[in-house]
Amino acid sequence: MDTNKILVAIDGSENSRRAIDYVAAIIKDCQWFKVKLLYIERSPDRDFFADDDLWKKACVKQRKAMHDFLSKGKQLLLQRGIEEERVQTDYVESCNSPLGGNPDYCSRGTSIAQDILHVAKEEGFGTVAIGRRGVSKAEEFMFGSVSSKIIHSGSNCTIWVVQ
């Protein structure tokens, strides 16, 4: 585990943009920190589409949007004065995506939190930063909460939850 490595998990939302902002503000004057922006792909559910063509189109659209978000997130860090060699991005594909690719690791879609913690552990990140949606108790009960699960399941790392 390397305390100088920060993993920022993003999902394309305003909350994750705030998490990037926060991390940028913390580390901008600390030359020794490295940051990785991580997106775990959530492919649209195939069963939500009348046919595979529509499903694939939705997957392509979403993949492009998230790659764009990762690029913008990286630009945000660079604009805050963080050198390019200190910033990485990572897009973990869904195992269920119809868009091909044969990544070493893919998300099975059962828990984004566990996927994030897997990457953090495998790559030795000392800190995991994540934005929080601020869901109600009933919504958390029903839909689950990535940030709550990371807080409860994360170990051997510091966790920053950015509200």
């Binding site: 839909f143 689950g144 990535v146």
Partner: protein, 319 residues
């Protein structure tokens, strides 16, 4: 020239009675046009449409035009044909809106997965010449579990001691059936009281209707587990208890137990989860399972396994 309804009936079932001789359909896409007296041809077999299926809820009949009650003319057996109806909608659960979708291919996939498994409705799917995925379902002879329980004419205490010990093991078996789906990456999608039936003769519990789906990324089986919790609450309570129901239970002048907001379900805030407060003979362990679905809970079940790990020991305590 293709056969008419009359010719098909004369060939396959000359004694069949129909109000009208309708049309023969091979393309089932326009399901609103298909009605009683029509014949659907699927895989060269013939299904005489008797009527549209109707869903009854709160005394109101809601026709399901994409679901046809049929007679399979080659065998004489009753069948239900579910035609393709892609529907995206929001399920309102208390204050939460859940985006849901009606997926013919999901139901078709589950029918394949559970073939021969008596815990689920049986059937098969076939595509009509236009590519519509039609599901051909066996008709379950039986009654909805909630109706079956509702019609037991006993007070709760008698029901609890004499009937629940027989019902609970069957409910656990039904939960194990849902776990079977989850273990294979599938969900039921619409677990509610009218989708678990008691089969006449065997008394087995049978799940029906698998075409709903939802997409929760961090809690993929959340809605199914919520549904199981609601069913358990109904089964243990022999109904649901609102503030009003509770007040009527104590109309004889006994003092009403102190009930707080956290005693009710987290999602449906007018259904009492803490049943032990009104039925003190309910064992703590069983009430503990119910309380996981209440507003006062801080820990929720994420898998059917977790739910069953707490529920199974309750059987011994009840015995």
């Amino acid at each position: 020239m293709s056969e008419s309804v009359k010719q098909i009936l004369e060939r396959l079932n000359p004694n069949a009675y129909v109000d009208r001789y309708g049309q023969v359909y091979t393309d089932t896409g326009d399901f609103m046009r298909i009605t009683g007296g029509d014949i659907i041809v699927l895989n060269n077999e013939h299904y005489l449409v008797l009527r549209d299926e109707v869903e009854r809820s709160f005394g109101i009949e809601d026709p399901k035009y994409w679901v046809k009650r049929c007679r399979h003319l080659e065998t004489g057996m009753r069948r239900i044909l579910k035609l393709v109806f892609h529907e995206e909608f929001f399920l309102q659960l208390g204050e939460i809106k859940v985006p849901c979708y009606r997926s013919p291919r999901k139901e078709a996939r589950i029918l394949d997965l559970v073939r021969g498994d008596g815990r689920f409705m049986q059937g098969f799917s076939a595509k009509d010449p236009a590519g519509n995925n039609v599901r051909v379902l066996d008709v379950i002879r039986g009654k909805r579990l909630d109706q079956w329980i509702h019609e037991l004419d006993f007070d709760h205490k008698t029901y609890f001691h004499e009937y629940l010990p027989q019902i609970l093991p069957k409910f656990i078996a039904a939960c194990e059936a849902i776990k079977f789906l989850h273990d294979r990456g599938e969900k039921h999608g619409d677990i509610r009281r009218d989708h678990l039936w008691v089969e006449t003769g065997t008394g087995k519990y049978v799940w029906i209707d698998f075409d709903y789906t939802f997409d929760f990324h961090e809690n993929p089986f959340g809605l199914d587990i919520f549904g199981l919790g609601g069913l358990l609450l109904y089964i243990v309570g022999k109904g649901f208890y609102s503030h009003q129901n509770i007040a009527s239970l104590y109309a004889d002048g006994r003092s009403v137990p102190g009930i707080v907001e956290g005693d009710f379900l987290l999602v449906f805030k007018n259904r009492l989860a803490n049943l032990k407060k009104i039925f003190p003979y309910i064992p703590e362990s069983l009430n503990w399972v119910l309380m996981h679905f209440s507003g006062s809970s801080t820990v929720y079940y994420e898998t059917v396994d977790e739910f069953l790990q707490d529920l199974r020991p309750c059987l011994q305590q009840m015995a």
